[in-house]
C-alpha cells in the first residue's frame, strides 16, 4: 500500500498499534496519524490528528448486508414531466438491484404524503413497480413529513444487521411543516441515533441545498446534486453502490487525548469534545472506502529527541460480515526536533492532505456565508486565497485531489454573480459535503 510505503520511508516511526486484529475475519482498518509527526521543540503548537477508518473488501453479493431502504420522492408540481419520469426510472432501477433479503418502501409527497409502497420485501417486485408507476406530480412540498414517513417505513424493519436508509429525491423546497435547514438537521441527528441515514438528492436548481446537505450530513448520509435528470440514474447507482457495500455500521470513535494535550476542534464532522475526550459517530463505512475524523490538537512545548504521547484512539463498530461488535484501538505519539527541515520532511502526506482539504472546505463554507451576506468581494478574495492555498499544498504534497479542489475554488470565485450564484452555491455545498463526509461519489 502506498500510504504505508510512504510512511516507512520517513525517518520517524510512529507508534501505531492496531489491536484486536482477528486473523480470520475481515476488520475495518484503523489508521491514526499526525499531520506533523515531528515538531519543533520548545514551543506550544497545533497540528492535525487524522483517524482513518477503511472498510474491508466485500466478497461478492452473497455476503452483502441486507438493505432496508425508503425511497422518498418529491412529487410536487415542479417535478412534472421529465423529472418525475426520471425519478420513477431511478426508483425502479433501485428496485432492480435489490434482492429478496432487502426491504424497500416508497413514499411520495406533495402537500400530503402518501406511502405508495409500505415497507415490504423487495421480492414482491410487481406490486412495488405498480406503486412506483402510480407516481404523478402536482402540489406543494411537505418534505419534513415525507422524510418522517420514509423513516417510519424503515423503522418497521429496523435492524442492526441491515443498512437502514432513507433516500430523498427532491427538486423543491420544504413549504409544509418544519422547513429550516436547522430543523431538518435536527431530524437527521435524531434519525442517526437509530442507525438510520438519509441520503438526499437535489434535482435541478430549485431545491434548498442547505436543507438537503444538512439533513444528509447530520445523519451521515450522502448528498448529491443532480443538475439534470441525466445525472439522476448515475447518482442513484452510486448511492446504491454505497448502500449495498456497507461493511461496518455505527462506528463510535473516541479519542482520549493524553495529559497536556488539548483537543481544539473536529473539522468537517460532528463530534463532541468534552474534558479531553472527543467522541464522534460514523454511521457506516463502505467496502474499501476510507472515512476519517480530523482533530486539531494543541501540543505543549516538547524537548528535542523526546516522544510525547498524543492520544489513544478506540473505535467500536458493528461488523456487517461477522455480525459482531468489534473494537479497535491505537495510540499515537509525536517527536520533537530542533530542525525545521526534519519537520518538513516528516510531514505525513496523507494526514496533511486531509487537513488541507478540511481547512479549505471550511474556508469555502465561509465564502458561502460571506456571499449570502452579499459581500461578493470578500467572498471572492476568500475563494481565491483558498485556491492559492490549495494549489501551493497540491504542489508540496503532490496531490491531484488538492489540485482539483484548488481549481474548483478558483472556479467558484468566478461565479459569484447573481446569474450563476444559485447553481454555484449548490455546487459548493456539494463539494463541502463531499469533502467533509468523504463521500465516494459526487
Amino acid at each position: 500500500m502506498r500510504i504505508s510505503t510512504w510512511r516507512l520511508l520517513t525517518v520517524v516511526i510512529l507508534g501505531v498499534v492496531i489491536a484486536n486484529i482477528s486473523v480470520f475475519a475481515n476488520q475495518v482498518k484503523l489508521d491514526v496519524s499526525l499531520a506533523n509527526p515531528v515538531l519543533v521543540e520548545g514551543k506550544k503548537q497545533t497540528t492535525y490528528l487524522k483517524i482513518g477508518l477503511t472498510g474491508f473488501e466485500m466478497k461478492g453479493d452473497v455476503q452483502r448486508t441486507p438493505a432496508n431502504v425508503a425511497i422518498v420522492l418529491d412529487k410536487s408540481g415542479s417535478m412534472q414531466g421529465d423529472k418525475i419520469k426520471k425519478a420513477r426510472e431511478a426508483a425502479l432501477m433501485v428496485l432492480d438491484q435489490l434482492n429478496n433479503k432487502d426491504i424497500v418502501s416508497v413514499v411520495a409527497y406533495d402537500n400530503n404524503v402518501s406511502v405508495l409502497v409500505p415497507a415490504t420485501k423487495a421480492s414482491d417486485k410487481t406490486a412495488i413497480t405498480a406503486g412506483i408507476n402510480r407516481l404523478s406530480a402536482g402540489g406543494s412540498t411537505a418534505l419534513f413529513a415525507g422524510v418522517s414517513k420514509g423513516a417510519s417505513e424503515v423503522r418497521k424493519f429496523l435492524a442492526k444487521n441491515k443498512v437502514n436508509r432513507v433516500i430523498l429525491l427532491s427538486d423543491g423546497l420544504a413549504n409544509v411543516g418544519p422547513d429550516s435547514p436547522g430543523e431538518l438537521a435536527s431530524l437527521g441527528a435524531s434519525l442517526i441515533k437509530e442507525g438510520m441515514s438519509v441520503t438526499t438528492i437535489g434535482l435541478g436548481l430549485g431545491y434548498n441545498e442547505d436543507l438537503m446537505t444538512q439533513l444528509a450530513q447530520r445523519s451521515d448520509g450522502n448528498s448529491y446534486f443532480a443538475e439534470t435528470t441525466k445525472d439522476l440514474t448515475r447518482l442513484f447507482k452510486a448511492e446504491f453502490g454505497d448502500v449495498l457495500s456497507v461493511v461496518a455500521q455505527e462506528l463510535v470513535v473516541k479519542v482520549h487525548c493524553a495529559k497536556g494535550i488539548r483537543p481544539v476542534r473536529v473539522i468537517g464532522r460532528q463530534a463532541d469534545i468534552a474534558a479531553g475526550t472527543t467522541t464522534a459517530f460514523i454511521n457506516q463505512i463502505y467496502s474499501s472506502q476510507q472515512k476519517y475524523l480530523l482533530l486539531e490538537v494543541e501540543l505543549p512545548a516538547g524537548r528535542k529527541g523526546k516522544n510525547m504521547d498524543v492520544a489513544k484512539v478506540s473505535v467500536s463498530y458493528a461488523n456487517m460480515e461477522t455480525k459482531t461488535t468489534d473494537t479497535l484501538s491505537s495510540t499515537i505519539a509525536a517527536r520533537f526536533t530542533d530542525s525545521e527541515e526534519k519537520v518538513a520532511d516528516s510531514v505525513d502526506r496523507d494526514a496533511m492532505i486531509a487537513a488541507v482539504t478540511q481547512l479549505a472546505t471550511e474556508n469555502n463554507d465561509l465564502a458561502v456565508v460571506l456571499r449570502d451576506k452579499g459581500d461578493i468581494e470578500a467572498a471572492r478574495k476568500m475563494l481565491v486565497d483558498n485556491g492559492k492555498f490549495l494549489a501551493t499544498n497540491a504542489v508540496i504534497l503532490e496531490s491531484a485531489k488538492l489540485k482539483e479542489y484548488s481549481g474548483a475554488n478558483f472556479d467558484d470565485a468566478e461565479n459569484l454573480d447573481e446569474a450563476s450564484w444559485g447553481r454555484q452555491r449548490k455546487s459548493m455545498r456539494g463539494w463541502q459535503m463531499f469533502n467533509s463526509m468523504q463521500q465516494e461519489a459526487r
Binding site: 413514499v107 402537500n111 400530503n112 404524503v113 402518501s114 406511502v115 405508495l116 402510480r134 411537505a142 419534513f144 413529513a145 422524510v147 418522517s148 414517513k149 423513516a151 417510519s152 423503522r155 409544509v176 411543516g177 418544519p178 436547522g182 430543523e183 435536527s186 431530524l187 441527528a189 435524531s190 434519525l191 441515533k193 437509530e194 463510535v252 463532541d272 469534545i273 468534552a274 474534558a275 475526550t277 467522541t279 459517530f281
Partner: protein, 517 residues
C-alpha cells in the same frame, strides 16, 4: 286589479307567507345550528381519536424517557452515551438534592461539549427562574408524582423538558428533541395513501403559530377559512392543535339539504297554494260582479221594454178613472188602484234605470225653472191613495215657494223613494214633510213615525242592495237600491241626503243646490 283587491291580496298571501318565511328561516337557522354543532362534534370526535393515538405515542415516549432519566450512572460520559442512543433526548441534565444543576455544570465550560454549552444557553431562562422541577409539582396529595413535563419558549418555539425525581432526591431531566417528537407524531398519523377516505376534508396538525406541521386529506381549504373543528393535542404538546377542514359542499350537503331545502320547498308550496287560492277567489268575485253587471243590464233592458207599455197602462188607467162616473164608486176605486200601482211600478223601473245609468256613470241632471213645493205636492198627491190605504197622516209645511232652477224629475224620484219607504214601513203613523229655501239651497225634511233606523246601521242604508233585516222589515218587499239612488241623485244635484238623529221614526234631510231662476 283594483287597489282594494290588491290590499286583500297582500293580506291573504303576503302576510301569512312572510310569517311563514320568518318562522321557516328561524327554524332552519336553529336546525342548522344544531346540525352544525353535531357535525362539529363528530369532527371533534374524529380528531380526538387521532389525538388518542398521539397520546399513546406520547405514553410510549414517556416510558422511553423514564428509562433515559433513570440512568445507571450520573457520570457525564455515561449520560452522553445515553443521549446518543435515545433519539428523543436532545440533552440530559441532573439537579442534585440541593437543587443545584450538577450536569451540565455551568462552572466548568471547558469540560462541556458544544451541545451541552448550547443547552445551557438555551435553557438559561429556566435556570434563572429557579425552576427545580420537583418542588413545584410535589404538593399535597401529588407527592407521588415522580415525573412530569415542563415547557418553555425559546427562540425556536416551544421546548419541552421531561423530568424525573430519583429515590436519591436528585432530579434527572431530558430536553426532549422537538423535531424527533414531531417526526414521530407525523409518522404515526395517517397518510394520503389511496383508499384513505378523507376525500373532501383536510386534517392539519398545526404548531403554536398555526403553521401546519403535517396534513392529509384531498381537500385544499381556502386561506383564511377557519377549521370546522379543532382539538388541542394531548399534554405536553397542547399548544399544537389538530384542525379539521371540510369542503364547503360537504357541509352544504349535510346542512342544507335537510333543512334549508325543506323549508324553502315548504314555503314555495305554501306560496303557490295561497296564490292559487287568491286567484280562485278573485276569479269567483270577478265572475260574480260580471254576472251582477249582466243581471243589471238585463234588468235595465227589461225595464226599458216595460216602460212603454207601463206608460200606456198608466195613462189609460187615469183616463179610465176620469171617465168612470162618480156613482160607480167601486169601479172608480179599482181604476185608481190600477193607476196607483202602475205609478209605483213606474217608479221602480225609473229606479232600476237610474241605478243602471249610475253604474255606467251616465247620470246627469237637467235643471229647469220651477217651484220645489209644487213638485213636493205633486209627488204627495201621487202617494195619496197609498197613504190613505196605509192610514198614514200626511202633513206638509211649505217653505219653498220661490221659483228656482232644479231638476223636477230628479226631485220627484228622490221624494218618491223616500215616500215609498214611509209607505212600506210607517203604516198607521204619520208623515211630516217640511220644505225651506235659503239662498241657493233648498232643504226638504221628510220625517215619519215609523220604527226608524237603528243607530248602528245608519251608514249602511245608503249602500246599494242593503236592506235592513229585522222583524219590522221582514216580509216587506223591495229592491234595496232606493236610498242609494236617492242620495246619489241628491249629490248629483249639488246637495245631499242625510239621516238625521231622531227619537222616533226616520228623519231624512234632503238638500239641493237650487240657484234662483
Amino acid at each position: 286589479m283594483k287597489p282594494k283587491l290588491f290590499v286583500v291580496f297582500l293580506v291573504i298571501v303576503l302576510l301569512p307567507l312572510s310569517l311563514l318565511i320568518w318562522t321557516g328561516v328561524r327554524l332552519a337557522r336553529d336546525e342548522q345550528g344544531r346540525l352544525g354543532r353535531r357535525i362539529t362534534e363528530a369532527l371533534e370526535g374524529r380528531l380526538s381519536e387521532i389525538n388518542d393515538g398521539i397520546a399513546r405515542l406520547v405514553a410510549g415516549h414517556e416510558t422511553s424517557l423514564l428509562k433515559a432519566t433513570d440512568p445507571d450512572s450520573l457520570d457525564a460520559e455515561f449520560l452522553r452515551s445515553v443521549m446518543r442512543q435515545n433519539r428523543l433526548t436532545r440533552q440530559l441534565f441532573v439537579i442534585d438534592s440541593e437543587h443545584r444543576l450538577i450536569y451540565p455544570e455551568a462552572a466548568s465550560t471547558n469540560s462541556l461539549t458544544s451541545g451541552e454549552r448550547d443547552f445551557l444557553e438555551r435553557t438559561r431562562s429556566v435556570w434563572v427562574s429557579g425552576e427545580t422541577f420537583y418542588h413545584q409539582h410535589d404538593t399535597g396529595t401529588r407527592s407521588s408524582n415522580r415525573y412530569g413535563w415542563h415547557t418553555w419558549f425559546w427562540e425556536q418555539g416551544l421546548s419541552f423538558i421531561f423530568w424525573q425525581r430519583l429515590d436519591s432526591g436528585q432530579v434527572v431531566g431530558a430536553e426532549v428533541d422537538r423535531i424527533a417528537v414531531m417526526a414521530d407524531i407525523v409518522a404515526s398519523l395517517p397518510s394520503g395513501t389511496r383508499g384513505s377516505r378523507l376525500l373532501d376534508g383536510r386534517i392539519s396538525l398545526v404548531d403554536t403559530s398555526g403553521k401546519p406541521l403535517y396534513q392529509w386529506g384531498e381537500h385544499e381549504p381556502a386561506t383564511g377559512v377557519p377549521p370546522a373543528a379543532e382539538v388541542p393535542l394531548c399534554q405536553p404538546y397542547s399548544s399544537w392543535r389538530l384542525q379539521y377542514f371540510v369542503a364547503p359542499h360537504v357541509l352544504q350537503a349535510n346542512l342544507g339539504r335537510s333543512t334549508s331545502f325543506n323549508v324553502l320547498s315548504g314555503l314555495a308550496v305554501m306560496a303557490i297554494a295561497l296564490i292559487g287560492l287568491t286567484i280562485y277567489f278573485y276569479r269567483e268575485s270577478a265572475r260574480e260582479s260580471r254576472e251582477a253587471v249582466q243581471r243589471v243590464s238585463f234588468v235595465n233592458q227589461v225595464s226599458h221594454e216595460l216602460k212603454t207599455p207601463l206608460t200606456n197602462i198608466r195613462m189609460y188607467a187615469e183616463l179610465l178613472e176620469k171617465r168612470i162616473s162618480e156613482k160607480d164608486d167601486k169601479a172608480k176605486r179599482q181604476a185608481r188602484i190600477v193607476a196607483g200601482e202602475s205609478q209605483r211600478l213606474s217608479r221602480l223601473i225609473t229606479n232600476v234605470l237610474t241605478f243602471a245609468k249610475g253604474q255606467r256613470n251616465g247620470l246627469s241632471y237637467k235643471p229647469a225653472p220651477g217651484i220645489p213645493d209644487a213638485c213636493v205636492t205633486s209627488v204627495l198627491s201621487g202617494f195619496q191613495q197609498a197613504f190613505r190605504t196605509g192610514h198614514i197622516d200626511v202633513g206638509f209645511s211649505r217653505g219653498a215657494g220661490n221659483e228656482v232652477l232644479f231638476d223636477a224629475d230628479l226631485l220627484e224620484q228622490v221624494l218618491g223613494n223616500l215616500f215609498s219607504n214611509v209607505e212600506k214601513y210607517a203604516s198607521g203613523g204619520e208623515l211630516h214633510v217640511c220644505s225651506s229655501q235659503d239662498g241657493d239651497s233648498t232643504t226638504i225634511s221628510v220625517k215619519d213615525s215609523g220604527p226608524g233606523i237603528p243607530r248602528g246601521q245608519r251608514k249602511r242604508i245608503f249602500k246599494p242592495f242593503e236592506r235592513l233585516s229585522n222583524k219590522v222589515t221582514d216580509g216587506v218587499s223591495g229592491t234595496g237600491i232606493g236610498l242609494s239612488i236617492a242620495r246619489d241623485l241628491a249629490r248629483l244635484h249639488g246637495g245631499d241626503l242625510a239621516l238625521k238623529d231622531s227619537n222616533r221614526g226616520a228623519h231624512f234631510i234632503l238638500t239641493l243646490h237650487t240657484p234662483l231662476a
